[in-house]
Symmetry: C2
Subunit: 322 residues, 2 copies
Amino acid sequence: MSVASIHKPVQQELEQVEQAISEVTRSEIPEVQKMLEMVLSASGKRLRPTIALLAGRFGEYRPQHLVPLAASIELLHTATLVHDDVIDDSDTRRGQPTVNSRYHNASSVMLGDYMFAHAADLICRTESIEVVKLFTRTLLAMAGGELTQDMTAYEYGQDTMQYFHRIAGKTASLFATSAEGGAKVAGASEEWTKSLHDYGENLGMTFQIVDDILDFEGDEAELGKPTGSDLLSGTLTLPSLLLMERHPDDNPVKKLFADKQNGNEHLAQAILMIRDTSILEESHAVARDFRDRAIASLEQLPDTADRASLAEVADHVIERRS
Amino acid sequence: MSVASIHKPVQQELEQVEQAISEVTRSEIPEVQKMLEMVLSASGKRLRPTIALLAGRFGEYRPQHLVPLAASIELLHTATLVHDDVIDDSDTRRGQPTVNSRYHNASSVMLGDYMFAHAADLICRTESIEVVKLFTRTLLAMAGGELTQDMTAYEYGQDTMQYFHRIAGKTASLFATSAEGGAKVAGASEEWTKSLHDYGENLGMTFQIVDDILDFEGDEAELGKPTGSDLLSGTLTLPSLLLMERHPDDNPVKKLFADKQNGNEHLAQAILMIRDTSILEESHAVARDFRDRAIASLEQLPDTADRASLAEVADHVIERRS
């Protein structure tokens, strides 16, 4: 399932979303305009807006509120990436130089804040305090998840439950809000809204787990970042947690956290062990399990082409290689 | 007019505001809790909540919405300070070490985002999409003002009009929203709401101009930061702009921007010239003029004790020494 084919059913509205986003990038200050273009044109897959637009078809179709919702979510997502790159001190993202590497941290902090402000402005255009509250809860979950990740970096005693909890806040909450927000804008029934929320949440979990697998399995050139970068910066994800579970007493993760100076050596060992064993296959199985739950959540909804499209998004997320 | 006496008319609600803010500081993560306490207990004067609470008395008094509004505004204000300290790379604020100096920039970025999220959560508790929109417009104005300030740093060709425009976004917008938000929560008439907005905006201009005067005139120990720090970091404010107007061809500001390596030498010269001439008196006159406009804006309102209290806040702002 290619990105182009999952975009197809909402192609027209997606163009309006791009339009709404590009209006935001117009700044009086040339330097700001340049930074915004740099960030927003490093085009992602627009998965979240696609989900919001599809979910908005389960009820009364209101593009005048749906397009700002979808644009707001994508802008919020991109704003968090800008701040994440400062936090992680990343030089590249999707193979492109980051704002903080090209400019400086101060610019990235301000640019992220400016994009947050525009995301908040767009969400208000849904004219629904309920949707704004949903957006706000997501902000809290994401910011909380990010803080937890940072504060527990290089902490050896974490388990998979803590990992699931962390990625639920950091990633799945925004996917859940994409789907639930679409349903709310459409005035969908409570039952459908709940189904779409569950779909989004499970899909978000799938997305993050696949991301974390790709960090070990993926091709550096395709990913646009070095392999194992999460582990090197002290973040435990599913594959490294499974490695630790299997070798509780002696494993390269423990060595890496205890001896950061020789980090790259221990990292290479960890990557080898993770790739050599069934850990990656097991991780994929966990991701597939969340994908299945996402698709099962759709069962309450009428069996329409839009429902099939949402299922196809889930398949794309599990199959992606970058 | 002391801070205690301007708090007095809204003492009870201010305590509820403190309560709402302190609920936010409770985090499961001890490190986060510590950082939040560090930021929020470095107690400011709570001027903005005081204004919001007083403005909320011109109409139907609704403390259940007014207290979240006031708490949200103070939290947003503090969040911007946390990010400002990263942007300006400041080590101290109000004489206390900043989060970025004690921890690291990444923590400050995340902490600021977390506080923004809580501010957004609180503003939604006003249950008014109109008030949320006001909050959002302020976010845009503040973020835009901050970006403009950074992008025009060390730019020599600025004039006082650009300065007024910049501080209107950076500072006055949040004061305007404090007063206008209070009026909106109270369901005040359009005329009163406009009066209160104008009061807040003019008071915000006064506040920032006094701040910028204190940066040259004030006592380092009282201010908790070195004299002339704005100019040293390339930000032109009213006193330095007036100095440049008087000596367009040869002045230490020009030298400072052209020769940052000997920055402190040129800065000392600029401070001497600003203190020696009538520039500070002229700057004070401009601040008083905005204060007068703030008080004149109140004339449309009924002549109550609350109106008198708002006028007293304006007097406090002009008289403050730190």
